[in-house]
Symmetry: D3
Subunit: 213 residues, 6 copies
């Protein structure tokens, strides 16, 4: 669940492709799309990654509001993900930070029995890195087997790549995946933070556990 | 891994008893014991909970130091726990906060191949509540089936109970377990926060994952 | 000054009833009311607590804005409270957090001689707990003598109680009051945080003191 | 309760003198004194302010430790203050920050029935400014009537004043008192932050209140 | 770049005058102006300080929004400042805090090659004090030679001065400049915090340096 | 000013070599050295980088104390650096965080006229990355011309490199320099945060400025 077309590829494209390659259904929700032509690009990237047709809100910018939170929680209830990935709250990009706030709220409300007849309790919320790096990741996903899918997905974001004559995006993502790969003991990796989800509200359908293992 | 004898019972006694009742080995490490007579009490409580003989450092107070961190990481490597429980970092008790810092450091160093021939990578670090309440828990453990074990363990901390003529500790722990039970949809529960563990240092034996599910 | 009908009862109903029972005028300002039928419920609860007719803004959700802040500061100047109670800033509910921000701003502006011909300098701002617990309270109010008034007020929030078949709200509030009662050395209590108010702006009618006692 | 001789005068000398002039007993506890000759200076300053003979710990520097916390809580129990004043936690001076931590801990432990036969529950903890300014004070005390006592007390800290040839300390304290006076609507003032004290621990002799007014 | 007419004078009027007196072009951008008559006052103040004609957005209050950020970044690109001064993020005034957020965002976006054909990389972002004091400044500017210009600029904000019968603003600014002067070793000074600017985004025209000296 | 031998090379070796290559005197202060044999390694690395003979404190671990702060401030006064580089405060390594605290304190005290007959006012304090990454750097230094010096210095830390059979340190530092290079628009770079230094204490020999340019 990302701010702009291309964030899904730069931040977690390898992880999406890896799970898709194993038959896990993968959905992409993009909170804005400006100009609307970028919709074609994210659709192409989703194809390369093996994800389903993306849901794209064609807003011009991401600003937190009760309405946007509701649209996102509706999507969660419709798509029923186990794991949600979004931006880190200290991203240098204001709309990435706004997306974090919106998605975190939506994950909460999507789980409420008072909001939805069939609420969806997301199990894990993971936060990804686009241009701002995570200082100390909680999870490194080995994407060595799907690095080509990620590279091809990057190539579909033509309008973004064309902002540089020298391949900034390609190189930055290549080096980032290599650096995280060295940390992860593999060729290429993606880094994430884990955001533990509260489980004390009165409205969740499932509330307590009987084992920590 | 707690500051004082009785913290293991008040904070997570039910959870320890629950896992012990299923045959999971349960260890208690107590960072201080003043006066030394309280060692008998924590040993008795461990028996009631079904835990193994506690490891008790007979220090007078918990003060973070490289030496104490090392003793705790040595214990982790020896005991090889999957899940570690300790205090919350915003506990009103200074020594509880110090225990949090020491245990978190020790969990890190216990995982390093450069520190130990057989390092131990702890999977989960959970934080418990003694007198200071967790505002919004991440995990509620249903302890309804072992509430009597917890009650009996509380009774073993005779020197503490005798500080009040009117049963403060018994009542406080009863009401806390009932309140968390209402939140957890069960009769009695214990509340925890989850502290995600970093996984990017160079020295862990296991570094990356290939699935988020 | 609360987000929704029922927050005034769950968070500080006993404290309101206690003061009302002594002849202290008690006002309730509710920042939203969705659906409008809940107005009847909060009016009924106010009656049970001995508070005056509530002021209810029939907005759908609480979103901080200059306009809302102004409506609240106008109310403060009209009602002239000595003590204001609102939500904690770390409440899990976004609209509770928004209410905190709005009320804190309004308390500031209500005290300015440049905003009002007869500004109102609130003496204490207290923060209450609804579903999210205060880790370490600054004030515990003994509500043992008015617990029945609080119970009856809870019963007036029919639309909320009906969300659960098993009495979640009644039980949660009963256990919370008992737990705080154990901490407060009494049968039932409510917990609050104190938010010290700034006193250095140029516009307050009263600015310095001549004693700390 | 301050780090060094002269902090009691620069930070709250006027407030001490004001209360002393009304017959309120005023005590000064100084956590370090290096070189020991400064003891004469703080004793002289206390005389000018009308405070009692200061208690001076002749340590070389203020470092938080269980031993120092205990010495301070013993002093609180012996002196039985209603109001304690110490440093702000964001002071640029490390030993001032350490004093804040030590004093805050000591205020907590001095109130425990399990620590002292006659515990002392401090009512207010106020934080003062020496060289680092408080951005937005909670309390401004009008010291216009005792500014001469403060000036004379400053003159007693001869060893400090001699560090500058041009009267830095005298001028800084004069201008600071004037600036705070403008904010407080009086000629001279001292600024403080209020630190609300927790009241939920099990060990306080007094625990709950029955009125907020 | 300030919230209201008069902030530019109270917060950094001396610094503006000092640079103007040396022939440095000085611009003022004011994010709101309510009532519109205050435009005359800020224009008068700018004249006294030697600044160019101010840019005044005649909004009623400062609320962060993508639109406002864009108007400010457009201004930065048009005016091409080396140094930008705005409010501190912990100012007691909500609109001052909002201005900080807006200006910081605008400084970022003004530097992007993807936003502007001729982006402007601001070199320093400094934060000033109006009514809320900076605890420990990073920069003190000696304004002794231009204090009369600052005094005259203050006199141009007639509508504000008339809020007090006793010269609050004049006195507060006089004493603040004197206090900062004592700290700065001069007669009068203004205090600032330095906000280091990020330099890792892909879009800056200048990205790395080859010396730290 | 670093915690351990090798931090000076991994964190800022290229930057040291770059300045040394231009004739700027470069000093290294290492706060611990365990085992003592690593002194030979850091001396060798310093030679490769063109730095002067390192100052090495042969302590076993870095723990903040007044004594260590004093040793570091004495070194600053002796070496008289314009720019000091140390660790980031959110480094995953406890001793790196401790080094940050110690060095920051020492930079403050080294500037005091009351501490030293010839105090040293450091101009810039920069913070570097070793294993924990800086999310958004303030400064990127182009080290393309000295990457071979950095590589050779890494090779001198034989005892560290031998901890891995597969060249972790070499690869991690290579990829990190390449990633920062992409961000900096060059082949290889090192990233830093800027920590603005306070300038309001009474004791600095230089206190105010007369220009922001």
């Amino acid at each position: 669940m990302v701010s702009h077309p291309d964030d899904e590829t730069f931040g977690c494209g390898g992880t999406l492709a890896l799970h898709a390659s194993r038959g896990v259904p993968v959905d992409i929700l993009c909170l804005s799309c400006d100009p609307p032509e970028r919709r074609t690009e994210i659709t192409g990237a989703a194809e390369e990654l093996g994800a389903r047709e993306p849901i794209v809100l064609e807003d011009q910018s991401v600003v937190g509001s009760p309405g946007l939170i509701r649209r996102v929680s509706d999507s969660i209830v419709a798509l029923r993900p186990s794991v949600v990935v979004t931006h880190i709250p200290f991203d240098y990009h204001r709309e990435h930070r706004a997306a974090y706030e919106v998605v975190k709220e939506a994950v909460e409300w999507a789980a409420h029995t008072t909001m939805y007849a069939e609420p969806c309790v997301v199990e894990r919320l993971l936060l990804m890195e686009v241009n701002t790096l995570i200082p100390t990741p909680h999870v490194l996903v080995d994407i060595s087997n799907v690095i080509d899918e990620k590279r091809r997905a990057i190539q579909r974001h033509v309008s973004q790549l064309s902002k540089f004559t020298w391949g900034y995006y390609e190189e930055f993502n290549e080096k980032k995946a290599e650096l995280r790969g060295v940390q992860g003991g593999c060729a290429y990796a993606e880094a994430f933070m884990e955001e533990p989800l509260p489980r004390s509200g009165p409205f969740y359908p499932v509330k307590s556990v009987s084992s920590l293992l």
